[in-house]
């Protein structure tokens, strides 16, 4: 049985930008395959590193769900990236750690710090949704609402697929932060 975690990342109360945190309770109601956990990975990259390090059975696949603004996408567009490692320089890693321990929550920080401390399995995947501009509130725009079924199907596929059958994905590297290579 494969140990898989879907971890949601992002601030609350920011409309579409809060897709992970708002959707998490819904995801937890779904009947996932054995070995799949849904959890919030929003409480600080260092704390998450320590949680992963303390596990006796490491995760074999990590799927991070977040909302990120990227050029050229429409609200609700879903992208799947596979984490490719390649860290930025040490000064930037230090800054990431500094940000993390002083309260900044971001999927970029999480990926880089997790990579530095070697917690990510080879199958680390980022599923991100285009949220559009930040707004206040716990609601989604209609476009985002319409994307949710696809998003759930994507996550279901990714949790169940064998490594060789993972969805078409783009690589993502730490030394370019969140820009596609």
């Amino acid at each position: 049985m494969k140990q898989v975690i879907i971890g949601t990342v992002g601030y609350h109360n920011l409309c579409n930008h809060s897709i992970g945190s708002v959707l998490r309770p819904e995801l937890q109601k779904i009947d996932w395959a054995p070995g799949v956990e849904i959890d919030e990975l929003n409480w600080g990259p260092i704390a998450i590193v320590q949680k992963f390090q303390a596990r006796t059975a490491p995760y074999q696949r990590v799927i991070l769900l977040a909302a990120l603004e990227r050029p050229g996408r429409a609200v609700g567009d879903i992208s799947v990236f596979r984490w490719g490692g390649s860290l930025p320089d040490e000064e930037l890693i230090q800054r990431c750690v500094g940000d993390a321990v002083t309260g900044v929550t971001s999927v970029e920080n999480l990926l880089i710090i997790g990579e530095y401390f070697k917690i990510w399995p080879s199958e680390t995947i980022l599923v991100d949704v285009e949220p559009g501009p930040e707004q206040a509130g716990e609601h989604f725009t209609p476009e985002m609402q319409a994307a949710i079924p696809d998003l759930i199907r994507t996550l279901q596929y990714l949790t169940a697929a064998d490594n060789g059958q993972l969805l078409t994905y783009e690589p993502l590297y730490g030394d370019t932060l969140i820009q596609e290579a």
């Binding site: 601030y11 260092i46 930040e134």
Partner: protein
């Protein structure tokens, strides 16, 4: 008589009034900073050794701080400095019009590190405004919660943020002669930390890879675990409410907390020994390090950790309960303790915006405090936050920070002020583990894996970057021991069947109620001034430690604490004027700034008027510093 500059005098009974015959008692001169700027510009044009040194952002701090200085690389001195908070914090505006019940949860978000402190100060302000006294178990558990928060905070700063400035990796780039000397210099406190040579310590201070860096990360976990047992979650606790804590505490919870707390007994001994060795070694290498970050010991502290036999939340008795705290409130002016009265601390506070991106407010609603002492129109109960973004200008406005003063003095804040003022005041009531002497602080650390030890911090003769960090190191065992003292009290309450954790209350829907919460953050002094009108918050003002420390020049032209500390800092880094490849790092300037433990990170959520558009980018943290 604690006030030298404000026109306040006291009668024989200690009642304060405005001095008679002063026509405009709170007036002040506004100095034109432009003249100095013109001179500087002229000098920069003529003197090739003068260099603008800008840090934007200053790294390895919490949040968004930029710093501008002009350095004479030939004379190796700083000739001009400006501290800039580069983000707007909007919490004071967000809180207006809301129910006071929201304040603890919302204000907590002002900081990504010390959310629990903001929640607590908010709860204290409401307790004062509405006359709510928490039950004793809640008071001691609150003390433990916040002591544990400091146990997260101090290692983080000492080893992750400030520590690398003393590491082999960084020092070999700026002062390789020190690294060479470290290779043969024995460490004095080997028994406490296990390192034989100074170079071994400096190597383990290396960022990311050093064992001390990694260990500090691990200790933040221990502290976080203890914290969430009481607060529910970190950094924004779910359990802090006016009137106590919304958790049930039993023997199991206390034992779980204890298992984490005891790890800081050994760690506290180790950290104190380490930093004593590091700073003593650097001073041996070059005594001029005593000038890095130097400024007079002029500081302010609210005090923390309420004694349950004294705390009743009232303004009337705040001098009594303030002085019963494990950390004594007070103000030091150039090393002299001028007051330990929370009322006098409150009355002496003012906030100015002449060099900040804010509009001056009109009005002077509260001319007196709750007992008739005079209050300035610039006092936080009178201040309003009116943002006015504008062009950055060293001669005019250059920061989102305001300029808070006490009795018109630029005062600094920090965990070290907590230790310094408590040691000097010698007023602590409960002395089971913590004993101030008037000139030092004795800490009786119990046995864990290491033998029991008595640590003593002495009030230093000079005040500088090293002494800030040295005192902060002592604040680790200090905080752990206060937590332990309170832990024993909590156990006693449970044995007595005193298990109440909160006091019920209602928010009155009519009338005006005012309060102030006094409680230090990890970085020191923190106040929330609150006004409730007809059941809703009508004004809320947050004064954080970095608001004080990152302050711009006062209207009358004196620099803020960061600015002053940097101006007094000699450039001890090896500068090779004729080697363009040798980049000037400014490590001495950065050591001076970082010694304050800047914390600007208030996650800034600015709601644009008449829309639901939120700005959250480039947002940072620790409520400390931004408005």
């Amino acid at each position: 008589m604690c006030f030298k500059n404000l026109p306040i005098e006291f009668d024989a009974e200690g009642n304060a009034t405005l001095k008679e015959g002063v026509s405009n008692p709170y007036s002040y001169n506004v100095v034109d900073l432009g003249k100095n700027e013109d001179k500087l510009k002229d000098l920069l044009g003529k003197n090739g050794f003068l260099k603008n040194v800008d840090y934007d952002p200053v790294t390895r701090i919490a949040g968004a701080l930029a710093f501008h200085s002009v350095v004479d690389l030939k004379e190796k001195k700083v000739i001009s400095s400006n501290s800039m908070a580069t983000l707007f914090r909007g919490y004071e505006i967000i809180l207006k019009g809301r129910s006071p019940l929201d304040a603890a949860y919302i204000s907590s978000r002002a900081c990504g590190v010390c959310g629990g402190v903001h929640s607590t100060v908010s709860a204290l302000a409401i307790e004062m405004a509405l006359d709510i006294k928490p039950p004793p178990l809640a008071i001691v558990m609150r003390n433990i919660l916040l002591a544990v928060e400091y146990l997260y905070d101090h290692p983080l700063h000492l080893f992750l943020l400030s520590g690398p400035d003393y590491s082999e990796q960084l020092v070999s780039e700026t002062n390789p002669e020190i690294v060479e000397r470290a290779k043969t210099t024995p460490a004095n406190n080997s028994a406490a930390h296990g390192y034989k040579l100074m170079i071994d310590i400096m190597r383990d201070l290396n960022p990311l890879t050093g064992k001390l860096y990694i260990e500090a990360l691990e200790m933040t976990r221990v502290a976080r675990e203890a914290y969430v047992l009481i607060g529910g979650k970190y950094p924004h606790p779910q359990s802090v409410v006016p009137g106590g804590l919304s958790v049930t505490v039993n023997i199991t919870v206390l034992n779980e907390v204890y298992q984490r707390l005891i790890k800081f007994f050994d760690y506290g001994q180790k950290v104190v020994g380490l930093w004593d060795d590091v700073f003593d070694f650097f001073l041996e290498c070059n005594p001029d390090y005593a000038k890095v970050g130097a400024r007079p010991a002029t500081m302010i502290e609210t005090g923390v950790w309420d004694h349950p036999d004294y705390y009743d939340a009232s303004y009337k008795n705040c001098d009594t309960w303030g002085n019963a705290r494990w950390s004594t409130p007070g103000v030091l002016i150039d090393g002299e303790l001028v007051t330990t009265s929370l009322k006098q601390i409150n009355v002496g506070l003012e906030e100015f915006v002449e060099h900040s991106y804010y509009e001056k407010w009109d009005g002077h609603r509260f001319k007196e405090d709750l007992e008739g002492r005079p209050l300035s129109p610039n006092h936080p109960w009178n201040k309003e936050t009116i943002a006015k973004p504008g062009k950055q200008s060293w001669r005019d406005r250059y920061t989102w920070d305001t300029c808070p003063t006490w009795d018109r003095n630029s005062v600094e804040a920090g965990a070290y002020a907590r230790l310094y003022i408590t040691a000097k005041a010698n007023k602590v009531v409960s002395r089971r583990f913590v004993n101030p002497t008037g000139h030092s602080m004795i800490l009786n650390v119990p046995k864990h894996n290491m033998p029991a030890a008595t640590l003593e911090w002495h009030i230093p003769k000079v005040w500088n970057a090293f002494e800030r960090n040295r005192a902060r190191a002592f604040c680790i065992p200090y905080s752990a021991l206060v937590a332990l003292d309170n832990w024993y009290m909590a156990m006693d309450y449970l044995r007595q069947g005193e298990t109440r954790m909160s006091t019920p209350f209602t928010i009155p829907t009519k009338g005006t109620h005012i309060g102030v919460g006094f409680w230090g953050a990890g970085r020191g002094f923190l106040t929330h001034h609150l006004i409730i009108d007809d059941g809703a918050i009508s004004n809320y003002q947050i004064l954080t430690p970095s608001t004080l420390n990152a302050s711009p020049h006062t209207p009358w032209g004196t620099p803020g604490p960061y600015e002053e500390a940097v101006l007094n800092t000699p450039i001890l880094e090896n500068v090779e004027l004729d080697n363009p490849d040798k980049k000037f790092k400014g490590i001495d300037i950065l050591r001076a700034i970082r010694s304050f433990d800047p914390c600007m990170p208030c996650t800034t959520h600015i709601q644009v008027a008449d829309s639901d558009y939120m700005v959250t980018r480039e947002v940072t943290t620790c409520a400390c510093g931004l408005e």
